[in-house]
């Protein structure tokens, strides 16, 4: 709670939180907020590529769909994809980090070397390779992103576990004979939680961005999904005439990622100034 | 005899109302070693920072700091740099780890000493020999982490002397070192000061150091001078209750001040009147009302207390 109060005192972080809350709101009520909710999959070829107007705030796309509606509808998929990816990455990365951090010897070594392999290539490149090889589509893109993002959680949790393992209270617990699993999950994990939360928030922004690149390169979301990256890619064919087609989905990406990044920065400062340097 | 350094009514205020120093006056004669003692938070370091022109952001200094006949406060001691050598508290942290030790000293000499680079080099080598640093030539090329703590402090002393200062200001230069090294460094400082006729302003909270090194002493409490005088006289017969307690509570001259009840007040909430009165065993009602002025009591001794120890009065 003190962290939250600290967060709200930082205007920049509060702004980030505002964006994120707003995005979650838009995503939740997308169906009601979008003026043309059916434009997620309907096309109206008679009114294609109309410039922004009172009726179509952001104009229409190549199939005559309202871009404003599709940007709103796209918020949901962007958030869901990022959330799923980050959660999946956490599900892999946190246990790996915990075990590697707690144990010594070959298991720990092996796990961390394994982690290193996934860090040996920039995430996007690995995600591209994985995404393509596993047959392109949004689900594979998500799998690929999760498979490339978990090492960051593993690293973070590993460092935290190592630090806490040396802490006195852990020694004390081990001294009174507490089971290692109990220590890990009841004592070490909660203490590592702030670091994981910060990493997850930054990961949300990062994943939205990377998923957009994958969509843009044709390895991510598929038509007619109202996906922002995909929209920018479709819009390229119609530049420079239909500038609105490329502009607004891109702005949506910018805003949402900005929100998560600002929030992540704020959280990092609020949670622990020591974390200032850990950045993907 | 005119004073080399004459600090008069020095006040340092922080933005936000905290008052760190309040009318501190200290005089150092040529060749004199002046010790400044007091608990942590009494303003010893601020005093040095004000003299050296390195007060933190938001701090303003008023009063006069006369050095070699000129007030150096307005230009933040810029004129006096080089003429005042500085030995910092922690030799481990005071050298930039990414530069060679020699280069860091040359940088100071480049700005403040006369002569060519070759002159500087020759002079620095002399100094390094004077501070008894082994293999001075090699030392110039080494990085700070390649020295031991004592060696580093010797380096810093050499650096302080590099521009031929008339005054050396030292900020507890031995606290970060082990006991044997402390003793060596103190011996070195004393020897150098005597040999070169240097004046020195020596901040410490260690009475042992004080006794072995300093000619005179100024006791600071909560940003004001409590009492001042020749070292022997003050140590043998302290007049201010604070000095007495300070001396009494740790005969072994340890750092802890467990013997005095309470703590030094925070700079934002100084008590009225005599600032020591909340902790003073001799305190009386009016102590809280009037600020006791710093008055000369005997030759070279002064005191700021309305109820001094009877022994001397």
């Amino acid at each position: 709670m003190t962290a939250l109060r600290h967060l709200m005192r930082d205007p920049v972080a509060a702004f980030g939180l505002l964006i994120v809350v707003f995005a979650v709101f838009v995503a939740t009520f997308a169906q009601w907020l979008a003026p043309f909710p059916d434009d997620a999959f309907e096309s109206n070829i008679m009114q294609r590529l109309r410039p922004p107007s009172a009726e179509f705030l952001f104009g229409t796309d190549n199939l005559g769909r309202d871009i404003f509606s599709r940007v709103i509808l796209g918020t949901r998929s962007a958030l869901l994809v990022a959330l799923a990816v980050v959660l999946a990455a956490m599900l892999i990365g946190v246990p790996v980090g915990l075990i590697a951090g707690w144990r010594d010897g070959w298991l720990s070594e092996g796990l961390m070397r394994f982690t290193d392999v996934f860090l040996a290539v920039p995430q996007l490149i690995l995600a591209l390779a994985l995404g393509q090889l596993l047959a392109p589509g949004i689900f594979t893109a998500m799998v690929a992103l999760a498979l490339t993002y978990w090492p960051f959680f593993a690293r973070t949790v590993f460092a935290e576990t190592r630090r806490l393992r040396g802490a006195l209270f852990v020694d004390a617990l081990a001294g009174i004979g507490a089971h290692p699993a109990r220590i890990l999950f009841l004592h070490v994990l909660p203490n590592a939680a702030p670091a994981v939360l910060v990493r997850a928030t930054i990961g949300m922004g990062f994943t939205i961005l990377t998923a957009a690149i994958l969509g843009f390169l044709g390895v991510g979301a598929t038509p007619p999904t109202p996906d922002w990256g995909l929209a920018v890619s479709e819009a390229r064919q119609h530049l420079p005439d239909a500038w609105w087609f490329a502009t607004f989905p891109g702005l949506a990406i910018l805003l949402l990622v900005l929100g998560f990044n600002l929030l992540g920065d704020g959280l990092r400062d609020a949670a622990d100034p020591r974390l200032r340097r850990s950045r993907h | 005899m005119t004073a080399l350094l004459d600090i008069e009514g020095l006040r340092v205020d922080m933005r936000g109302g905290a008052q760190i120093l309040d009318g501190v006056s200290i005089t150092v004669a040529p060749g004199q070693i002046m010790g400044v003692v007091g608990e942590s938070g009494c303003g010893k370091s601020t005093l040095l920072r004000a003299m050296l022109g390195i007060l933190p952001r938001g701090a303003t200094a008023r009063g006069r700091v006369m050095f070699e006949g000129r007030d150096i406060l307005p230009d933040q001691a810029a004129q006096a740099r080089g003429r005042i050598g500085f030995v910092p508290q922690d030799p481990y942290l005071s050298l930039n780890p990414t530069f060679r030790a020699g280069d860091q000293i040359f940088e100071i000499m480049r700005r403040h000493a006369t002569g060519t680079r070759a002159d500087h080099r020759a002079k620095l080598l002399d100094l390094l020999r004077a501070v008894q640093l082994p293999d001075p030539e090699a030392a110039l090329r080494k990085y700070p982490h390649e020295f031991s703590g004592g060696q580093r402090q010797r380096l810093l002393i050499a650096a302080a002397l590099s521009c031929e200062p008339s005054l050396v200001v030292a900020d507890e230069p031995t606290t970060a070192l082990d006991v044997t090294t402390q003793r060596e460094i103190l011996g070195l400082l004393r020897e150098i000061a005597r040999a070169r006729g240097l004046s020195m302003l020596f901040v410490t909270h260690d009475f042992g150091v004080l006794a072995s090194l300093c000619d005179a002493v100024t006791v600071l409490y909560a940003g004001r001078v409590a009492e001042a005088g020749p070292t022997r006289a003050v140590l043998d017969a302290p007049t201010h209750p604070y000095t007495r307690l300070l001396l009494a509570c740790h005969p072994d001259r340890a750092v802890e001040l467990a013997g005095i009840p309470g703590t030094v007040p925070p700079a934002t909430a100084q008590p009225s009147g005599c600032r020591f009165h909340p902790r003073c065993p001799q305190a009386q009602a009016h102590c809280a009302d009037a600020v006791p002025p710093l008055l000369a009591i005997t030759e070279g001794r002064s005191l700021a207390c309305a109820h001094p120890e009877p022994a001397l009065v």
Partner: protein, 523 residues
């Protein structure tokens, strides 16, 4: 004096430097490049650029509608049983290295093609083996087929005649020089490759071959150097043309862009009715596509009018069957299916009544990089929703799809592609698309099987009588269309953006107008 003169000369040369940079701009060709320069290793639309400009075949298609003209061959004869084909070669043809082309070179080329067994060899392997190609004289070549195959001649232009003397020193591991020929040329064509500047899919420079066997008399100002610089993205390609960075786009200019290119004083659009059919495939071996009513329902649910005239702005021609409208052998009275949701609903109801499950989501695979396939799928998806049919769009690529069409189980429910002119014969369309013997190839990926159609197509394939073939193909086509195994949408009007500098651009459905030798550049 000497010094002065050389100084002056140096000055002149320096001054001439910028002038040299402004020397006649080469022709910059912005169309897609093939993956490899080896004409025997690949056969697709982009590879035609190399085939037609760097190499020659025994015969070649010219003009629109395409005429089959003798090229390196002067003439041919075929035996009455349709098995033995004798070709007489033209004398005096020189390869780029100056050596003369002989019958042995033709034999080498065919053997190389058939042994490597890649790309264009598929048109021949069913009827021809390497040892059945022989030189019967210095300028005569004989092919003996294992069974009669009337499209044999029409497939002749697919095969480049290569120069064995240029290849021989570069053969490694018995690879027929494949590694070398992928980045070099050994042809006799009007242009030769400048190998140093070649970068796969990025740049290809070709240079005029003065000793080209047909001579250059027909073109007084031929293009000396061509720099092929494919531009990946469509809109960038169009802008590059408008700004004069390239002189020609590909021949699939998006219909949205036509007006813009026409408006620019420096550029124009060449429009030519081609032979390239846009088709939505259905996997006829899988439910619900194995039911004719279900297929007819789907066929009536595609908005042909909207797609052809609104999205593609009328730059295409409705094509009601598998063959291009303008090809011989196509029944002229064919009535295309119309977009009619009422009829579609009726057919769907009939299918449901027959126990067909239409509730399963149908997958349609599109070629991601070709936006038209995506647009068509998206439009179709919206209309099918109104019939209560869910269409799921799966982005895929050409190689991705074609590698899955080898078995019916892995073939997608539906997919979208074009059938281009590989050779000008109904065999290229209805023949290879709907004869069940081609099952397993992408062309026959609707897995359509109709014994009567098989019989008609096979008869047409072996007959040497053009009238009879025309009748057989027309009959087969009518039957196929009646069964509605696929959804045929349009025949392409090729749209190529061109700089007005280019004169003499001549379109042919084979090669899509990419023959540089006919072009010249205005001053």
């Amino acid at each position: 004096m000497h010094l002065l003169r050389s100084a002056f000369l140096a000055l002149v040369m320096l001054a001439a430097q910028p002038a040299q940079a402004q020397a006649p701009r080469p022709l910059v060709w912005g169309d897609t490049l093939p993956a490899t320069l080896d004409p025997h290793a690949i056969f697709d639309v982009p590879s035609q650029f190399v085939l037609l400009n760097v190499y020659d075949g025994l015969y070649r298609y010219q003009g629109n509608p395409p005429r089959l003209e003798p090229w390196l061959a002067e003439s041919h004869t075929v035996s009455a049983d349709g098995l033995t084909w004798d070709f007489t070669l033209r004398a005096g043809v020189k390869f780029h290295d100056g050596s003369a082309m002989t019958a042995e070179d033709v034999v080498y080329s065919f053997r190389r093609l058939l042994t490597m067994n890649r790309g264009p060899s598929a048109a021949f392997t069913p009827v021809l083996t390497p040892d059945r190609v022989t030189a019967t004289g210095p300028l005569t070549v004989r092919f003996v087929l294992s069974s009669p195959y009337s499209p044999f001649l029409t497939a002749m232009p697919l095969v480049a005649i290569v120069n064995p003397r240029a290849i021989a020193p570069n053969v490694v591991n018995n690879d027929w020089g494949a590694a070398w020929l992928a980045v070099n040329s050994a042809g006799s064509g009007a242009y030769s490759v400048l190998p140093g500047n070649y970068q796969p899919r990025v740049s290809l420079d070709i240079q005029r071959f003065p000793d080209f066997f047909r001579g250059w008399a027909g073109n007084p100002r031929p293009v000396e150097t061509v720099r092929a610089r494919p531009v990946m993205e469509t809109s960038t390609r169009v802008l590059a043309l408008l700004r004069g960075e390239i002189d020609a786009t590909d021949s699939y200019l998006p219909t949205d862009q036509v007006e813009r290119v026409e408006r620019n004083p420096r550029t124009r659009v060449a429009r030519d009715e081609s032979m390239r059919v846009f088709v939505i495939r259905m996997n006829n071996m899988r439910s619900p596509f194995n039911n004719r009513d279900a297929r007819l329902c789907l066929t009536h649910a595609f908005n042909y009018e909207g797609f052809n005239n609104v999205i593609l702005r009328g730059f295409v021609v409705r094509n009601g069957g598998p063959n291009p409208n303008n090809l011989w052998g196509n029944p002229p009275d064919l009535v295309p299916y119309a977009f009619d949701l009422t009829r579609a609903r009726a057919h769907c109801d009939a299918a449901r009544a027959a126990g067909v499950d239409l509730s399963r989501p149908l997958e349609i695979h599109v070629q991601n990089e070709l936006e038209q396939t995506v647009q068509a799928a998206q439009m179709y998806q919206a209309d099918l929703r109104r019939l209560g049919i869910t269409l799921r769009i799966v982005p895929n690529t050409w190689p991705g799809i074609t590698s899955s069409t080898t078995r019916s189980e892995t073939t997608p429910d539906m997919w979208i592609h074009w059938v281009s002119t590989y050779f000008v014969d109904p065999e290229n369309w209805v023949g290879q698309m709907y004869d069940s013997q081609f099952h397993g190839t992408w062309k026959a990926s609707s897995w359509y099987s109709n014994p009567e159609v098989d019989r008609l197509l096979r008869a047409a394939r072996t007959s040497l009588n053009r009238e009879e073939r025309q009748r057989l193909y027309a009959d087969a086509t009518r039957r196929v269309v009646a069964d509605a195994p696929d959804i045929w949408v349009y025949n392409t009007v090729n749209l190529r953006g061109l700089s007005r500098r280019i004169e003499g651009y001549t379109f042919s459905p084979v090669g899509s107008g990419g023959e540089i030798r006919l072009m010249s550049l205005a001053e």
